[in-house]
């Protein structure tokens, strides 16, 4: 069976996951670092069929399913008892999942990650259909990334296939995977603001309004967007007949799934050239300074070996990849979506412990969804053990107008330690920022910078880069 290095049951204080309440078949319970899934009695028999078929094993071996193991009531009696109490006696089966090191959502993925997540979803469905099962949902929330590898996490949505049944997740798949990818690929419009606001994705009618005639005439767009929008309109006012739909052959559903796979695998971002994508090739300091900076970062991370490191403003991941050699898991964040896409392609397959994410630090993902507890914001997924904030603060202070004291107070909320870089106002990059705005940043000097830093952190080490006025500080919480 699908196994992984589980932990011994020592702490059995369980709490329901606030993002798992919609599925009538069960939900997620958390206990420390352990992630448990329970099934209610009515859902236990169908799931046992799924489990006994070996499909979960097969998907896990291929890397498309999160590690999952069934917990035996005889072995985990205490856990079952606690789960029964937490759920008012609704537990018939308990599973344990491999813990995802850092949860990420579709609005934090660059185009390439959403595309690979869509392919993962389709591959799981195709294999499920071949084995006699159906995956009832199709939302990016059921995919998580372990580093740069997408994995399907919602084993409860795999059910025994009934002859002639429809793929109920088809419309959801189009709205949350296909349409956002088409929007960005065909129109060069990023899908992130849309998906961040709308968990239901992009309605085919809305996408149809945005696309030009040429794009609408593409066969895949015509079928999945234009025709679906038309049929949605036509069927919207229809009275429910109460009759079941015409049976659909499984082969037809598989053709549909494979057709979508073919369409999506050929989609590419329309534009890729941004101001930041070539930044690492034209750094504003000499090779000697770069070498010293790399050494400082690598030595610091090697010495502390943090479990979770956040690289804030990672660009194409020069320092993320260095840190990943010695940190358990690196969450590499940058606001430039195309640059994060390039980082993803760079680390895919070669750095299994780097998770690239699109994050605008001036407006990071908030807690949102139902009761604002369903999907965690950035701060709720912290704190990090260590952060890298290299060539970042001048952007927050000058472009973002955030006072230094607030920058360091926020850093104090999200990390225990890290490395921060002071880029002086004589630096060409700061000069470029100041050239287009009135200089009202009197406090942006080394003295006030250090004073604000030491208000909340302790400076452990500092290094002035050779041939440059830039200074690196390694700090830790007081």
């Amino acid at each position: 069976m699908v196994t992984y290095a589980g932990k011994a049951t020592t702490d059995i204080e369980l709490r329901p996951d606030t993002g798992s309440f919609r599925d009538p078949s069960g939900g997620i319970l958390l206990s420390g670092d352990r992630v448990l899934r329970y099934f209610r009695p009515a859902a236990a028999t169908p799931f046992n069929q799924v489990y006994d078929s070996g499909i979960l094993d097969s998907l896990h071996v291929k890397g498309s399913l999160v590690g999952t193991k069934l917990l035996a009531p005889a072995v985990e009696a205490g856990l079952y008892s606690e789960a029964m109490e937490t759920t008012d006696g609704e537990v018939a089966l308990l599973l344990e999942h491999e813990r995802i090191p850092f949860l990420s959502y579709m609005y934090g993925w660059p185009f390439e990650m959403l595309r690979d997540a869509a392919l993962c979803q389709l591959d799981v469905l195709d294999e499920a259909l071949s084995a006699g099962f159906m995956v009832k949902d199709a939302t990016p929330f059921n995919i998580q990334f372990v580093g740069s590898r997408p994995v399907f996490i919602d084993v409860a949505s795999i059910e025994p296939y009934e002859d002639g049944q429809i793929w109920t997740g088809y419309s959801q798949f189009c709205r949350t995977f296909l349409n956002p990818l088409l929007l960005q690929s065909l129109r060069d419009v990023p899908f992130h603001p849309w998906l961040r606001h709308s968990f239901d994705g992009i309605d085919p009618r809305d996408l149809s309004r945005v696309l030009g005639l040429g794009n609408k005439m593409r066969p895949s767009v015509f079928i999945h967007v234009v025709l679906q929008a038309y049929l949605n309109r036509r069927t919207a006012g229809a009275q429910p007949s109460g009759q079941s739909h015409r049976p659909i052959k499984k082969e037809a559903t598989q053709q549909l799934v494979r057709g979508l796979r073919g369409t999506i695998s050929k989609l590419h971002r329309k534009g890729s050239k941004t101001t930041w994508i070539d930044y690492e090739d034209q750094l504003p300091y000499a090779d000697e300074a770069l070498a010293a900076k790399e050494r400082f970062v690598e030595d610091s991370v090697r010495g502390l070996r943090p479990s979770v490191l956040w690289d804030l403003g990672c660009n194409r991941g020069l320092f993320s990849t260095l840190a990943a050699k010695h940190a358990g898991y690196v969450v590499a964040m940058d606001f430039d979506e195309a640059t994060v896409g390039a980082l993803y392609e760079r680390v895919k397959g070669s750095f299994p412990n780097i998770l690239p994410l699109v994050v605008d630090l001036m407006n990071p993902e908030p807690d949102q969804g139902w009761a604002q507890t369903e999907r965690q914001g950035l701060a709720s997924r912290g704190p990090a053990d260590f952060i890298l904030a290299l060539a970042l603060v001048h952007h927050l202070r000058i472009s973002g107008n955030v006072p230094l004291s607030r920058i360091f107070a926020w850093l104090h909320d999200i990390t225990r330690a890290g490395i921060i870089e002071f880029v002086p106002r004589t630096d060409p990059m700061v000069q470029r920022l100041l050239s287009t705005r009135k200089d009202v940043y009197d406090d942006y000097e080394q003295g006030p910078f250090e004073a604000a830093l030491t208000d909340v952190f302790r400076i452990e080490e500092r290094l002035q880069l050779p041939g440059s006025e830039r200074i690196l500080y390694r700090f830790s919480a007081k």
Binding site: L231, N232, A252
Partner: protein, 65 residues
Amino acid sequence: MLGLYVDATSGGMALQIILSGLVGGLVVIKLFWHNLTSAVFFWKRNSPETVSENTPATDSETITS
């Protein structure tokens, strides 16, 4: 508020039924085409002109024997 009462997947359901019909239709067309081309090929292979023009006499004997 009407939108709350409209099932957003109804068009998708209708579309799947149409597509499955198309897939079935394509299979029929494919079969028809296959049968047609096979029949034409078989006829061409067996017509005396084709045999005399394109095949050596020994093959012709083999075919007619």
